[in-house]
Symmetry: none
Subunit: 192 residues, 4 copies
Amino acid sequence: MSRPLSEAARTKMLGAAQEIIVADGLDACTVDEVARRSGVAKTTIYRHFKNGDELVIAAMECFKTDVDTPDTGSLAGDLRAMVEQFVATLEPAVSRRLFVSMLHRALDHPDFEQAFRRSREAEYGPLRRVLQRAIARGEVDPEIDVPLAMQFLQGPFMALQLLRPDAITIDDRLDQMIELSCRALAPQPVPL
Amino acid sequence: MSRPLSEAARTKMLGAAQEIIVADGLDACTVDEVARRSGVAKTTIYRHFKNGDELVIAAMECFKTDVDTPDTGSLAGDLRAMVEQFVATLEPAVSRRLFVSMLHRALDHPDFEQAFRRSREAEYGPLRRVLQRAIARGEVDPEIDVPLAMQFLQGPFMALQLLRPDAITIDDRLDQMIELSCRALAPQPVPL
Amino acid sequence: MSRPLSEAARTKMLGAAQEIIVADGLDACTVDEVARRSGVAKTTIYRHFKNGDELVIAAMECFKTDVDTPDTGSLAGDLRAMVEQFVATLEPAVSRRLFVSMLHRALDHPDFEQAFRRSREAEYGPLRRVLQRAIARGEVDPEIDVPLAMQFLQGPFMALQLLRPDAITIDDRLDQMIELSCRALAPQPVPL
Amino acid sequence: MSRPLSEAARTKMLGAAQEIIVADGLDACTVDEVARRSGVAKTTIYRHFKNGDELVIAAMECFKTDVDTPDTGSLAGDLRAMVEQFVATLEPAVSRRLFVSMLHRALDHPDFEQAFRRSREAEYGPLRRVLQRAIARGEVDPEIDVPLAMQFLQGPFMALQLLRPDAITIDDRLDQMIELSCRALAPQPVPL
DNA sequence: TGTTAAGCGAGACGGTACGTCGCGTCTTAAT
DNA sequence: ATTAAGACGCGACGTACCGTCTCGCTTAACA
């Protein structure tokens, strides 16, 4: 019966939060700073979110974009297309920062843990579809354990993303990696 | 005419720092807390280390243990042995925390970035030797790009460690993943 | 063609305001609190008064009671009667609070300054009449400056009211004070 | 055995507090503002004073100056000298503000009540001595109740200070009022 | 008797102060 | 000179009010 929470205020504060996150990282995204940058009063922020963490999590959710399910006709092509989309969506250095920061916060804060998990799920569907199509095509061993295979596919990519400060680039190295992954999952040749 | 830095104090503070790190994580390891727990004065800490980060890094270095180079006769066996040693060295949940925290700090602090890199290098030698023996045995494609192969071996393991809150356990899943990794690197069967 | 301001609402809010003022003092009489206690919405309050100050001032005006002009036949008797009426009108501790609070607000807010002045003028008329009758009776020096004498009469009373936390009581001290005041205003004996 | 509270910090914050008080009044003297103006951190202020009220009270105490006991040979002269000193010490408009504000805060806060009382006691000694000398000289009725007389001397002056927004000035009005006060306390002429 | 402008209740909004916490650094006093 | 203790500046936190503004419902005056 009373005045609803202002959508404008919410937009402004989430916008500011996202700016801060992209520019200076998750840890710079404090309630005070969001209030300063957005012009929204701190009290108002606390009306929308019960604490600073919730604000940050909400801002992070906004980064989520729908992940397409490519269909290039080959597993390698599909994987490459997914990486390309990933890279196109967010500056690789930024996404690396965010990934690490989320992982870090998730260590101690269940809310972040869940948010992180949710954010990863967006990729699971497309990847699973890609994988299953590859199985159907006979590119992948039909007896493979799908969750395991998915984790296996993500692993080298994640190592690349995390351990290389220069982050991911679309290059030969990536292609080689994808090729190795495909080979691992390929149906075993029947031993003579 | 002056007094050398007390080795006893150094020992106490590093010990306390390690205790804190294992028990509550890297972020709990502040100068204040180390002073509290060790009984060593903050001033003293700052005499031994130019700032809190250095203290933490020094404490982290102490965790480093020599990584053996196993020789079981097969790549899969060697990899498994390495994982087993890794798991035996430090509680998996703890090592996961530390890995993530280091990664996080490395984002902004070059000192941590270097420390992190150094800590990883301890594994590179043994892993490289294991890999090269496998090449010699003909288990791995001799034309493989070694750095790439290493990243590829570490990747799935890292994904397992990071994305599973229950951390790594030695089980079938691990074995399967090792098998996939080996298969990825195996020489290509000569097409008929 | 529209709806007039509700008299009922006005009554409720002024009533609540007065209750608060008497019970907890002027500073507790905020728009929020009046809204809470009266059940009238803040909006409505602001529709009746352009701001909280006006509400408070209006509530204060309601306390004003006509001050009688006593006629006991002597200046001392009249003064005492006035004090008695003053004390009977409002709990001394309360009137002390209000006096001080009004004085305080008057420091910065001209509206309160005027309200305070108006509230004091209610006493001026009766006091002036009492004084002039005393002059007529020969109790007071006919050449006295009337405004000065009035302020002089109020002074000790005000000191009593302000500086004694236990506020004013009708007692010997008061009688003595009145006697001294009368003596000061008495016609000077002609020096021989 | 540890580092003592910094006298420099204390000086800076009290100085800033006094500046604020004189310039903008007691109510503008908030912890935040003192921190801003003095450059002293808010936390440090709370190390020196357990809350904002204590800071304000401490700042007020600094205004206290020794009140001289004049000796002009007549009660009227002494009173006038005291008023002159009072006026010379602090801008009348400022002292009026402070007086009212202190009175106001004293209503609800015992700490301020005591501070206010203490601040007034500085005048009591000199005034009492002046009064007693007047009694000795025969200017004042020797059977007078001293506390009553003092209140009586202060009262008209206080009325002047409080009720005149233009505050006190040294002028005829003041002289007349002093004369009335003296007359009130004068020994009663023996009735024939 | 239906329309409609305004009153009305509820509470969101921006603002400012509060007092707390934890950090890394710096200073004193004592060993 | 080293140590212990803790003050210092900084800045985020979350809370409490304040006065104002905005919503959506209701109601009273007019047609």
